[in-house]
Every structure is written in C-alpha cells, then in structure tokens.
Symmetry: C2
Subunit: 137 residues, 2 copies
C-alpha cells in the first residue's frame, strides 16, 4: 500500500495568548511556515472572531494547512496535509511551535489515500500535465 | 477530560470521477452539506487543478471542512472539523458520500483540544460575547 498524502494533526497547548489572538500574525506565520517548507500557496483566508479567536486556511498545491485558535485556553488546533516527497510537514509544525511559543505540543501523523500498487507502479499525487482522465478509468 | 471539537477524516474511494472533478459541483456539495448540518459558513475557496483534481476549504463558525480530490484514482480526502453540540459532522459526511457516489468510505473520528475541567465547569468552544481575554490568563 502506498499513500497519496500525509497529514499531521497538531494540538498546540500553552501558547502565547496574544500571538494566537492576532489574526495578522497567525496568517503570516502560516504563510511563512508553508513557504519555508517549499509549498506553493494557492489561496489563504483568515478570520478574527469576536471577542477573540482566529480561524484560517492556506490552500497549497500540495493540499492545505488549517488553524483554529482559542486564546482563552492558550490553544491552537492545526492540520497540516501535504502530498509529494518535496515537502516535510514537520518543518511547518516546528515553525508554528516556535512562533506560537507553545510549551506543550501533541502531534499525530496519518496517511491519507491508501492504494495498492503493483511492483514498479507509481502512485502520482500530481497527474502528468497531458494526462486524460479517461485513461485512468 | 472534555474536548473543544470533533474531527472526522474521511477517505471516499470509488467515487463518481466526473462528480469529484467538477469544481462547481464539489463546491456546491460542500456548501449544501455544511448548511444542512446547520453550520454557519464564513468563507469558501475552491480550485481546479490542471489537468484534473479539485481542492477547497469551507471555513465555518464552528471550524472547517476541507477537500482534495484525485479523480484519476476516484478518491477524495475530506476533513470535517466541528465544534459545539448543535452540529453533527456525520450529517456532512453522509451528504458528501451520497453526492460523490462513493461506494467505499473509510472514516475516523478524533477529538481535538482536550482539557481537564472541574466538576460543574464548562468548556466553551465559543467565548461569551463580552469576555475579556485577560480574564482567562
């Protein structure tokens, strides 16, 4: 079995409350973190909630990063979903940890999209440029 | 221990290839699915890849739904992250299954943001309107 992608679910506890309540800061950290990991950013959307809390997503060519923060609990929930061999999701995880000053991190890595592949066969997370969909059916 | 949120990771295998390659259809299904579950949509972003494949996120007041599709493998990876008692993420999961005509679904539910709470204490996923952040520190 081979997997199309990897996903890290991260619980950042005991964060810097002001850092994870600052929507501009959170957005910059996620964008810089994904760029550091050589991901290609496609779009990003961040929101500040009233009276506090931030939610945001960064769609990357290699999948996505999503965050929800609860400053009142010093906590941020983050998902880092990546495909391909060029990106290491743990680089993003570490960058966020440093910037949110989380002193208590719990992470879990899962494989997404499991397929049986025969000997010598490839599981391409990105189709070849001229690939026709009917070819696969 | 109580949790701030629930997350369902869904692997939709053996989907209708044309359905999961149609960015407008995928977007409508995710929006309708979240609305059916009484979620409050805050923003949504969907992208079509060349030569095929769709990625998208729906940020809801209660967290998010994200999708990545690989029509060439008949596969869609979906995350459904919800908070609060009013939304059932499985309603969304079921709606997507029907619309993508997936005949092989694998799902896993996880709890996000675990905290110890004392007797009679509440874990509020949404802060009270006038709550001051300094109150929590």
């Amino acid at each position: 079995m081979k997997a199309l992608g990897r996903q890290i679910l991260v619980e950042y506890y005991d964060c810097d409350v002001n850092a994870i309540n600052d929507v501009d800061f959170v957005e910059r950290v996620l964008l810089d973190g994904t760029k550091n990991a050589k991901a290609t950013v496609i779009s990003h959307n961040f929101h500040k909630f009233s009276p506090h809390g931030v939610s945001g997503t960064v769609v990357i060519a290699e999948s996505h990063v999503a965050i929800h923060t609860w400053p009142e609990y010093g906590y941020a929930a983050v998902d880092i979903f990546t495909c391909g061999e060029t990106i290491d999701p743990w680089v993003i995880q570490e960058y966020l940890k440093e910037n949110f000053k989380s002193s208590n991190v719990s992470s879990m890595e899962l494989k997404r999209g499991l397929f049986k592949v025969g000997p010598g066969e490839e599981l391409l997370f990105k189709p070849k440029e001229n690939a026709e969909l009917s070819f696969y059916k």
